[in-house]
Every structure is written in C-alpha cells, then in structure tokens.
Symmetry: C2
C-alpha cells in the first residue's frame, strides 16, 4: 500500500513539473510564446519584483473577433445582420433594388464583402435600430440560441478559443481586470460575454450607434437610432480605452490591423508590457488567412505584412494557432 | 478593576444601540431619510430577502457637483477654466474683445453666468484642448494643489460632503459598485476621484471632448481637440450609463434638474430601488439655493419646483443638508 502511494506521489510530482497539473494554460503548447506570457504575468504580479504592477493598474484589453472567437467566414455580427435583413425584408420592399441589401437578399457574399465597412455600417444601422435597447438585446439573445455557424454547425457563442479562455482566467487569477475592446457592437456582445468569457457587461467596449432617452406612456426608454455613434476600431480603440477606462492597459491582445493602435498605445507605456497577436494559420482546425501565410488577405481580420513587421520589430508575441495551441475550441479533442 | 470593565462594557453597549458604534452613517441624523437608505441597503443585500439583488447588479451612480462636493459659488471645473483663461490670455489677445472670454478677463461673474451652457462649453473647449491627455491631467493635478475655494479657503477636493463619503463606503461595503456620472469633464475628475471618493478612474463617467490618436516622434499620443464630444447631463446620463456600464443602476443620487433622467431611468427598473436628491438648504454650513427654499434658482445646480414635485410623487428621498446631516464637511465640528 505504501509503495502504491509513493508511486502515485512520484507520478503526480512528475506531472506537476513544467506546469503539468498546475499549468494555468493547459491548452497551450510549451514554447517561447507560452513562456513569454507566463514570465510577464509572474513579474508584474510578484511583490518586490522590479516590474511589479499594483492590482488597480493591471488592465488587459482583448479584441473579440478573431482574438477570442471565430471571425470567419464572416464576423458573427455580420451573420446576425444578414439574418435580420432577411427577417425584416417583407417590411422593406425597397431593399430588393438597393445595395448592400440587394446583395444580402441574393446571398451574394462577394458583393456584401465588396460593400466594405460602409456597407456593413449601413446593414447594421438598418437592422440594429428603431427599437429600444431591451428589445434589441432580446433579439440578439434569441438569435444566439438558434443560429449555427455554417462550418462548425454550432452556436456562434461556442466558437470561442479555449486557449484564450484559459488566458483570461489566468490573468484574472493574477488580479487583472479583463476588458473586451472590439470593433463589434457593444450591445451585440453584452448578452453573451459574461457566460462566454467571464467578462461582465461594464467591461465590454465596442462600437455604438446613437441612442435617445424618451418617455413612452410615462416610462423612460432608450431608443436605438439608425445613426453611427463611434467605431471602436483602429485609432478608435485607444481613444475609447482612454475615454472609458482612463487607464493605459499593460497587456493587449488582438489579431488584425484593427488592433494595431491598441497594441501601440499599450506598448508605449512605462514598465513591463505584453502585446500579443493571434495569427490564423490553422486551416484544419479553424482558418488560415493573410499574406504572412502566403495567402490572400481577407476582409474579416486583415493581417497585412506591415503588421507582422511591426510585431517583430517591437517584440509583440505572435501566437500561431497551429503551433502554439493544443486545441482551438473546447470541443476539439 | 472588574467593576470598571463592566462599566465600560455597559457604556459601549449603550453606545452601539440604534447604530451607535456600528453606525455606518455617523454623520447622518437619525430620521426617515437615513432609515430609508439603511432599509434599502439591508433588503437588497440580505440573501433570502424578496428584494435581494446579486452583487453584480448592485450598481449605484452618483452625480458629482452638488451631490458629492460643493458646486457654489460656481462649478469647480468652471473655476478651473476661468483660471486657465487668465493663464492663457497672453497667448490670446483676441479674447479681450470676445465673449465669454472678455467677461472672464473682466471678472464679470454675472456675464459669465449669462453665457450659460454654451458659454461654459466655449470656455472649456478653448482651455481644455490643444494638448495631449497626460499634459492636461498634470495641469489639473497642479491646479488642485494651489487653487482655493473663495469662501472656505481650502483646496476644492477637500470640499466633499462627509455624509456622502460615508454613504459611498457603506454601499461598497454592501457589495455595490459605485460610479460617478457627472456633467463635469471626465478628465477633470479622474485625477482626484480615487483619493477623494475611493472611486477608481474606470468608474468615472462624465462629459468629454473629442480626441485623436497621433504619432509624435514614433510615440503614440492622444490629442485633445477643441470640439465637444458628449455632454453627460440630463438625458445624456442614462444614455451614457447604458452605453458604458450596460446595467441599469439600482440606486442613483443627484441634486439638480441635470439628474432627473438618471433617477427616472433608475426608478423604472424592476425590484427595489433608491433614488435620492441632496437638497441645498444650509446657507450657514454650505449654501442654500433654489425655489423650493423660497430662494431664487441658480445657474449651478438648478432645482425647479417641478423636480421637487416629481421627487415627492415618486417617493425619491430628498435629503436636507440642514436637517439630515450632522456635519457637511470633514472639517466641520
């Protein structure tokens, strides 16, 4: 009996070295990228370390599309907007001959993509407004229950990256406050971020449309207006971080050109910093796109060579989904 | 010796009844308003209570000027802006003949008041912009060190209401997340809110001017532009609460018509709610203003009769500084 115990203890001891049983990032392969993350967290959270950062300053910001969840074959919110165009089309006969709505009704994905950001904004303002905030939230929540990703045949909110969930939990265990700072609509993300990522509604920053406070039958409501308020992308990310958080992050995570300025802003602060880009090079388990893969760039999560060059020059961690991640989704073997 | 001990124990016991030593609000006089606050906090924080609210939903929002600190003889930020006009005047000879700047240089307080919100916005955009965020913050922090309130001869950040500090601490001890939601500029408040109120920068919501992300010598900066972004007052308060917090408060505290919509929005949610207005009726220890005192209304913290009528009709707590507060400032006897 004692020998069995000693044997089990030895197995446990071996298992716990090089993380093992205590590994906070079990879905990450050992290597320089995982080591860089762990080294950063340890030095900023260890009292007495020259790089120690007080808990109140441990702000970490995460892009959402392509960084925390899948953004292909199109942004999840665009899939939602297309479904809303179909649902609302009977009330809008004019859409049959008006772009980008006509392209949606014709299922012409290339034309939708060609409509670019301007087209997406038109689709979003037309389908996300004209109702009060509570109604919109109910529509979003319902959609997540029924809509399925075309390739993975699962609810979109299950297509979150398991290694990034572990990273979020690891940072929070180290006293970090984790924020989403996404080009996506804040009201589209909030119904699912707590359950999907453990991130409460007040730590979700995103693009917004204008709203108005109105009285309806003596009861106040907030009405969603078909007018853009702010696009939380590119320079909009550090601008919103400064406006809403008022503290410079010490860690920032993205995956595309839309995150460049957020990482630059984070990196320009004094003291230890961690900037990371998720690189989509895993066509088998998820998607591969972008010129740094020798592939064509994409309209959803563009990653130009200039971004890779900047990441290398500035020592940003570029995480390869293919090489750094043991699994991509929780449902992967 | 034992008798002395028993005597002391008896004194302590008597002192602790009806709050006494355990009173979380020692600067509040006993009465229906204090009782309403305590009853609300107890019912929403007591597990098993029909009015129990989970900690994540315990959001409390506070106006700043006139609710947490003194707003007379003018808003603190306006006093700052006037000092900045004087400091910058040598660089702006055109101000000598241009309103509202001329009124400031002539120390014509009535004309400054007459310039209204439009005039204040002009003064703020002219004096709060044209520099990067870090520079502005340093100017604000320096100003708080040297500027003195004309009546109390103390730094403005000491003119915070002691009963409200106790209320903030009491709510936080009950698991509430306390926010400032003020018409004042967010970047004017953030340098002092942590020390003055225990409220971290990311829980300060206020008015904003536009900013731009720029590269200077290869280093990113956020430049303050002389253009209004959003006025966080009246309907702007619930709009910003919904946009930035994304949760409806269960308690809201204000003191003027600028807080009406925030209290209406808070009160329209389901479940237990606490809405409170601080009423300035104490000319001796602070100031008395507003028609409900039988006095003229004021440009700073206007409290029309319609607001008093709405407060009474909806059961909002109207706290009398004179009758409900044992002391106003920490330095009061």
């Amino acid at each position: 009996m004692r020998r069995v115990f000693l044997f089990l203890a030895a197995v446990c001891w071996i298992g716990s070295t090089a993380f093992g049983a205590d590994d906070p990032l079990p879905s990450w392969n050992d290597g320089p990228n995982k080591a860089a993350i762990v080294a950063f967290v340890e030095k900023v959270t260890t009292e007495g370390s020259p790089d120690f950062v007080p808990p109140a300053e441990r702000i970490a910001t995460f892009d959402n599309d392509g960084t925390l969840w899948c953004e292909h074959p199109m942004y999840t919110q665009l899939a939602f907007a297309l479904d809303r165009v179909q649902a609302l089309a009977p009330e809008h006969p004019e859409w049959k001959t008006k772009q980008p709505f006509q392209a949606v009704l014709d299922n012409d994905l290339a034309a939708i993509g060609d409509a670019g950001v301007k087209g997406m904004v038109e689709l979003v303002t037309a389908t996300h407004a004209g109702m009060i905030t509570a109604q919109f939230e109910a529509i979003v929540a319902d959609w997540f229950k029924t809509a399925r990703h075309p390739r993975f045949k699962r609810p979109y909110n299950e297509l979150v990256y398991q290694p990034m969930l572990e990273l979020l939990a690891y940072l929070r265990a180290g006293g970090f406050k984790t924020y989403i700072v996404s080009g996506g609509g804040v009201d589209f993300m909030r119904p699912i971020t707590k359950r999907a990522y453990g991130i409460p509604r007040e730590q979700v920053i995103g693009s917004t449309i204008k709203t108005a406070f109105e009285m309806r039958d003596g009861k106040p409501v907030i009405m969603r207006l078909p007018e853009l308020d702010f696009i939380d992308d590119k320079t909009g990310k550090p601008i919103n971080i400064e406006k809403i958080i008022g503290k410079r992050p010490i860690a920032a995570f993205g995956n595309s050109a839309g995150d460049r300025e957020m990482l630059e802003w984070t990196g320009a602060g004094a003291g230890a910093r961690l900037m990371m880009l998720v690189f989509h090079d895993d066509a088998q388990r998820e998607y591969a796109y972008g010129p740094a893969n020798g592939l064509a760039d994409t309209k959803f999560g563009t990653f130009p060579e200039s971004l890779m060059n900047e990441a290398q020059a500035k020592g940003w961690v570029v995480t390869s989904m293919k090489n750094d991640w043991k699994r991509v989704f929780a449902f992967d073997k």
